[in-house]
């Protein structure tokens, strides 16, 4: 009974889990760098427009990597930074006072690191 169970589990991993992991890795890019929105959409309301504008302003002044991008890539990069910032929770520890610029620069660093990734 036990050997049969182990064989079934091994077959599931061999045919389903490992190929899926490999495919996720192999296909992680290509679409990611296309200009425009990819796996997310921006809301149109004013507060989010301001939120994105704050990101762009900080990137322009505090993030040299951003300056090395083409116009289309800048658009994509700002949107990725926006998405990452929204998807993470930032905590100021001890007496650290968390400001927008901290969240934006950290999110932008992660966006640069994962620039080629489809799932960032």
């Amino acid at each position: 009974m036990a050997p049969a169970f182990i064989i079934i589990i091994a077959l599931i991993f061999y045919f389903f889990v490992f190929p899926d992991m490999y495919a996720r890795w192999k296909n992680r890019i290509k679409h990611g760098r296309k200009p425009g929105l990819s796996s997310y959409e921006l809301d149109e309301d004013v507060s989010n427009a301001q939120y994105l504008a704050d990101i762009v302003n900080t990137l322009k002044t505090r993030f040299p990597w951003y300056q090395k991008l083409t116009t289309a890539e800048k658009y994509e990069f700002a949107n990725r930074t926006y998405y990452i910032r929204k998807s993470k929770t930032f905590h100021g520890m001890e007496d650290f006072v968390l400001e927008d610029k901290h969240e934006i620069i950290l999110s932008a660093t992660l966006a640069a690191h994962l620039w080629s990734e489809e799932k960032f």
């Binding site: 890795w25 930032f90 660093t109 994962l114």
Partner: protein, 152 residues
């Protein structure tokens, strides 16, 4: 990196109970990243000193996210060269990568990612095979990008 949802920011170095020492950054398998803002900012302001605690911790996070790259095909080659680099760091007086990289393969990966983004051209000149192995891992080539921009 959806598994890493929480980023904790300390004003400066902080004590890690896990490592029982003061640290500048820490990444845990439970999806938490801890960063000293003072050291993050120092690395960020000086963008070619091969030191960047943010890139370093995000590199660790990426490794955890992808289960130590065990199913990632470019990893085999990267690890082979990475281990050669670690030996070089340990045995040679002068070396391109930070000494901390020789701690283990995880730190070598994180130190390499810092260098890759901070000094890509020097990296490619000194160790082209390792540079392109890192290009394959991260699927981006900062040198090629810089060369394209220089021609515009």
């Amino acid at each position: 990196m959806p598994s890493f949802e929480l980023i904790h920011i300390y004003p400066s170095t902080f004590h890690s109970k896990l490592l029982e020492q003061e640290v500048k950054g820490l990444t845990l398998g439970n999806g938490r990243i801890f960063i000293s803002w003072q050291h993050f900012e120092e690395g960020h302001e000086d963008d070619d000193d091969k030191l960047h605690v943010g890139l370093h911790e995000f590199a660790h996070a990426m490794m955890i996210e992808y289960q130590h790259f065990q199913y990632v095909s470019p990893w085999k080659k990267w690890r082979y060269i990475g281990e050669r680099m670690m030996t070089e760091i340990r045995t040679q007086e002068t070396h391109f990568f930070r000494k901390y990289g020789a701690t283990n393969i995880h730190e070598m990966w994180a130190v390499t990612v810092e260098t890759f983004f901070e000094q890509p051209k020097e990296f490619r000149t000194q160790h082209p095979d390792f540079y392109y192995a890192t290009v394959a891992m991260l699927n981006q080539d900062p040198c090629a990008r810089m060369e394209i921009l220089e021609t515009i």
